[in-house]
Symmetry: C2
């Protein structure tokens, strides 16, 4: 496995693989790799001849009050994990390498951002879409891998790829869970013992919603009320949101149908947990 | 020569050429082809194995009071001209094919737009950059050809390609001129006989500026005053602007050096003419 830090070397390297028509699987990350990333890398490894990950903490996607400087970094551990997962390359540029000057063009995400976590993160997805546009052009992947834990990001990337016609297949990877159903997250360690016991109820609440919809409930409001009640009854956390939209358009639904997402966010004392499920109601009409 | 109207057919077609590693030259246009376009096509034809032009009047780059509906179109004549110029393909999609829904992502041009013609055309270059991002990804050209008559557009495209790392070489083509120096433009027919006699003085005014700079004049203001005086003395047109910037950054220059652009716009009775020259002052220090 080779670590590449300059754009020039990346371009030269990928040109060789493109020329020999090898398939390229790409896993863009901000580093500090966890089991979710490992799953993405495993899939990318198994489906492509070349597997490359990027590790770049992208300043453009952090808000003014967000933790760009304190965002955790551990290149040594990351490169060990990437190597074990079978990566051929890590692209790990400096901020100066990726943004030599102030950008003269950026991507503006016009839709899918004013719901879920995006509501409180103005400009976040513009930064994500801008850096991915750069990375897609630099890496030229056949497939790009993203975790469904951040379903809104997957929705935005899906819009980016389809609207700009990137010749890239988006591969969404299901959320990795603990045995009791809790979505894996580096934030889970901040839960108290009691909160850790309650946390699996987030996923159970989602299952409750899923069952209602599969049984034919057509009102988003009714499902939201029910999931909210379940969460209130089973956790001490403060419910940030319980929302249902079409997926990946993230539009409000007068009537539940088609592909939908049910997503929740709950604030515990020291950790805000998010989780979601997508459900295909196309056969249920 | 083949006319392609759907994104799907374009993608399938270009995939074949990419796979056989043929070089692709691309000339994006809004149609109603004139001699400027012919020059672009000739260059693209001579430098690449495949030559493709697009004809698409892009609604995103027209302002609310601009003439999207009345913009001239003549597909029959255009396809004849493209064929004669040796084009392999014309990509001529409908608006609905290019923008099925309201865009969920667009490109925002952050720099190089608040000068020259861009000042009075808010959002114009966002529309240009957005459609080019789509077209670059669809066509996958090795080289893209743009006329220097619209030098600001070339500057914006240069920023788009370098910031987003498109694997495309930008080939700027010098302005085609009448024998008397007047830049060719479909708008020249709107000049009165007297105005047509005066119009070559636009290029002569630019030459005046060029000579001053080559002789060592370091003040943009002095050159601008001189070019403005020349225009006032030799034409009845209303001077819209005479401006000098670094090129392609389009930044104001305290001292004239490096690559610079001198650009002018003059309003005659029924036609607003623009012209420009770029000058490399790097050896003149």
């Amino acid at each position: 496995m080779k670590i590449i830090t300059t754009i020039n070397e990346l371009q030269q390297t990928m040109k060789v693989h493109k020329k020999s028509q090898q398939t390229i699987g790409f896993v863009p990350t901000m580093g500090f790799l966890h089991e979710g990333h490992l799953k993405l890398m495993q899939e990318a490894r198994s489906q492509n001849e070349i597997m490359i990950i990027s590790i770049f903490v992208n300043p453009l996607q952090f808000g003014e009050n967000e933790d760009f400087d304190s965002y955790p970094r551990n290149m040594e551990r990351d490169s060990q994990l990437a190597k074990e997962a079978g990566a051929d390359y890590i692209f790990a540029p400096s901020v100066n390498e990726m943004y030599k000057d102030e950008p003269s063009v950026t991507v503006k995400v016009e839709k899918r951002t004013d719901v879920l976590c995006g509501k409180s993160r103005a400009g976040h997805f513009d930064g994500v879409a801008t850096v991915l546009t750069k990375l897609f052009n630099l890496v030229g992947p056949d497939r790009a891998y993203f975790g469904m834990k951040d379903a809104q990001q997957v929705a935005v990337v899906s819009g980016l790829i389809s609207d700009f016609h990137f010749p890239v297949e988006l591969v969404p990877i299901q959320t990795v869970r603990e045995e009791d159903g809790l979505a894996k997250s580096s934030r889970n360690v901040y839960l108290s013992a009691e909160e850790r016991k309650q946390a699996p109820h987030l996923y159970k609440a989602l299952q409750t919603g899923r069952e209602m919809m599969l049984k034919g409930e057509k009102s988003a409001e009714t499902v939201i009320e029910s999931v909210t009640s379940y969460l209130s009854a089973h956790t001490d956390g403060v419910i940030d949101y319980v929302e249902i939209y079409s997926y990946p358009e993230l539009k409000a639904l007068a009537e539940l149908k088609g592909e939908v997402i049910l997503a929740i966010a709950v604030k515990f004392t020291k950790a805000r947990l998010i989780d979601n499920i997508t459900i295909d109601l196309n056969d249920k009409e």
